[in-house]
């Protein structure tokens, strides 16, 4: 069993963020053996010349992904969690209309952004629904273009938040949101999106995120996919994993997608750390553990 290589209790498909973009008419660069496909040319210049096609599910590689989910569910559905990944509406909009256009419209033509988002969000929702119908257990929505590296908290609230809320409400299964990079200024809004978990990168430290997100949404992350998972040793992975969990991470994970060149022993170390960590029971013990995390963080 391939998943026995790493021990990860989940299987995630698909692997790239271009599935929707391809199906919506973007041209792709197909990448290489260690590089995922990415968007080469946008599909449209203005929102009114674009609509999600009625036969979305039959386009591009979507049928293949649906088949993959079926096979996973049939063979491993009892043993592991099947996690289907869909691309968020802002990232799809960036692919379809060009990120430069989309970001400029925020200042020059906000109506365009709202219009674009109200169209692309339908693709996210439709795909999530289809993935669940074909046997996925959970859906993780990935919307890296709505990162705080590109947007302020206010922009996120105005242009992205309502659609994230819409997506979360439409998914009738456990669902998580992932946004890359620096997301601290978005957290006060993300807290209220309705997602069950939020996955973030090490640019935001766990304590800060916990402080802002509270107990409204589970914290997922946030071991560095490059500095630790790819380039670090298994010992480094273990140490950071424990620190993460003490600081308030609920679901241990790398902060973003892993490089295909990540050493398997580092992934195993991550899984082992999650298995070995004793989750504190009751508020008193949780507090204690949290304090230990604080103290250890200080000593580092």
């Amino acid at each position: 069993m391939p998943w026995e290589l790493t021990g990860l209790p989940t299987a995630t498909v698909p692997f790239c963020l271009s599935l929707e973009a391809e199906a919506l008419g973007c041209q792709l660069d197909w990448g290489t053996v260690n590089r995922t496909p990415s968007v080469k040319k946008r599909a449209a210049s203005t929102p009114n010349e674009f609509d999600v096609p009625l036969n979305l599910l039959e386009r591009g590689r979507i049928m293949t992904v649906l088949k993959a989910i079926e096979i996973l569910a049939e063979h491993l559905g009892e043993e592991i969690v099947i996690n289907a990944k869909v691309t968020g509406p802002f990232t799809i909009a960036g692919h379809v209309f060009g990120v430069g256009n989309l970001l400029s419209w925020i200042k020059t033509n906000p109506e365009f952004v709202h219009d674009a988002m109200s169209r692309t969000v339908e693709a996210t929702k439709e795909l999530a629904k289809a993935f669940l119908e074909h046997g996925a257990d959970i859906v993780s929505v990935s919307d890296p273009t709505s990162s705080g590296d590109l947007l302020s908290g206010d922009y996120y609230e105005e242009f992205v938040f309502p659609h994230h809320k819409d997506v979360a409400a439409s998914i009738k299964a456990p669902t998580t949101l992932h946004i890359c990079g620096y997301t601290k200024e978005l957290l006060p809004h993300i807290r209220h999106t309705g997602f069950d978990g939020f996955s973030f990168e090490e640019k935001v430290d766990v304590l800060t995120a916990k402080k802002i997100l509270g107990d409204d949404i589970s914290l997922i992350g946030n071991i560095s996919p490059v500095a630790t998972m790819l380039q670090g040793t298994a010992e480094k992975v273990t140490a950071e994993a424990f620190q993460c969990m003490r600081n308030g991470i609920d679901l241990l994970s790398s902060g973003c997608t892993l490089s295909p060149l990540t050493p398997v022993e580092n992934i195993r170390a991550l899984v082992r750390a999650a298995e070995q960590y004793r989750v504190p029971e009751g508020p008193e013990e949780q507090l204690l553990e949290f304090g230990r995390g604080l103290a250890a963080g200080r000593a580092l």
Partner: protein, 258 residues
């Protein structure tokens, strides 16, 4: 035992005492202040004092293409030198918004708009060949990397700081970089990579430049790059953000002038 008690106390306070939490946090991050801890700036304080340069700079910083064009036209019609209008007005505006961006008080939409206003304004300044440039730089993203936005921002900020920027585009291979270097004799080649899987292209480019005996440094940055990676080649340098990059470039130019 001490750590235990300390931890417990700190944890307890975390829940009810915001200030103490902030203090603990500050203690933990003393060596690397996070961007949000930089002091708040106002755009007004960053703009030139004298008119019409102040208004021109403000139009660029505010990303107002029409105002930038109109104000520059007016200034030139009034008999002002297009060069002066460009350097003391337009570029100062781009500079101001870059500083705000650096302090996380402006975001990518603002930078993109300001760059548009800057370019539109520059078109009205007449012949800018005499515009004193600190030197030419080439900019590109690593072979295989199609992330354009970060590169555009860096290009705009570097240009605002007095460099002539030639944008080679995204996913540029080492042979094309070499060709462009031969054509333009830049002071540096800038490269960005946001995907770990594409960054090794920079090693190839650095090696090719070295093999061809070209002593132009390759300065790289972006999410997939760090000091350790850039340290693998002697002719490769790392810049964390546009601000740091301009510092590195200025140092290179100073070094050359000696």
């Amino acid at each position: 035992m001490r750590a235990f008690t300390l931890g417990y106390e700190a944890g307890k306070r975390f829940l009810d005492d915001h200030e103490i939490f902030e203090l603990i946090k500050k203690g933990q991050t003393e060596e690397t202040p996070s961007p949000e801890e930089k002091p708040r700036l106002t755009l007004e304080s960053l703009l030139p004092v004298d008119e019409p340069f102040r208004a021109i700079a403000q139009s660029v910083a505010g990303g107002d293409v029409e105002a930038a064009v109109d104000l520059v036209k007016m200034a030139v019609d009034d008999g002002r030198d297009g060069l002066i209008v460009a350097t003391d007005g337009l570029l100062k505006g781009m500079d101001a918004i870059s500083v705000l961006y650096d302090h996380k008080q402006a975001y990518v939409p603002e930078i993109l708009l300001a760059a548009q206003a800057l370019n539109a304004g520059l078109m009205e300044c007449g012949d800018l060949n005499a515009l004193e440039s600190k030197g030419t730089v080439l900019i590109h993203t690593a072979d295989g990397d199609l992330h354009d936005i970060g590169k555009k921002i860096v290009a705009a900020i570097v240009a605002a700081n007095g460099y002539r920027v030639i944008d080679l585009g995204t996913s540029v291979d080492s042979a094309r970089v070499l060709e462009a270097v031969r054509e333009n004799s830049p002071v540096a080649v800038l490269g960005s990579s946001l995907m770990t899987s594409t960054r090794s292209a920079f090693l190839e480019t650095a090696d090719l430049l070295a093999r061809e005996g070209i002593e132009v440094p390759l300065i790289i940055g972006g999410g997939a790059i760090d000091h350790a990676f850039a340290g693998q080649r002697e002719n490769m340098r790392y810049a964390r953000d546009p601000g740091e990059l301009v510092g590195v470039l200025d140092a290179i130019v100073r070094e050359r002038g000696k």
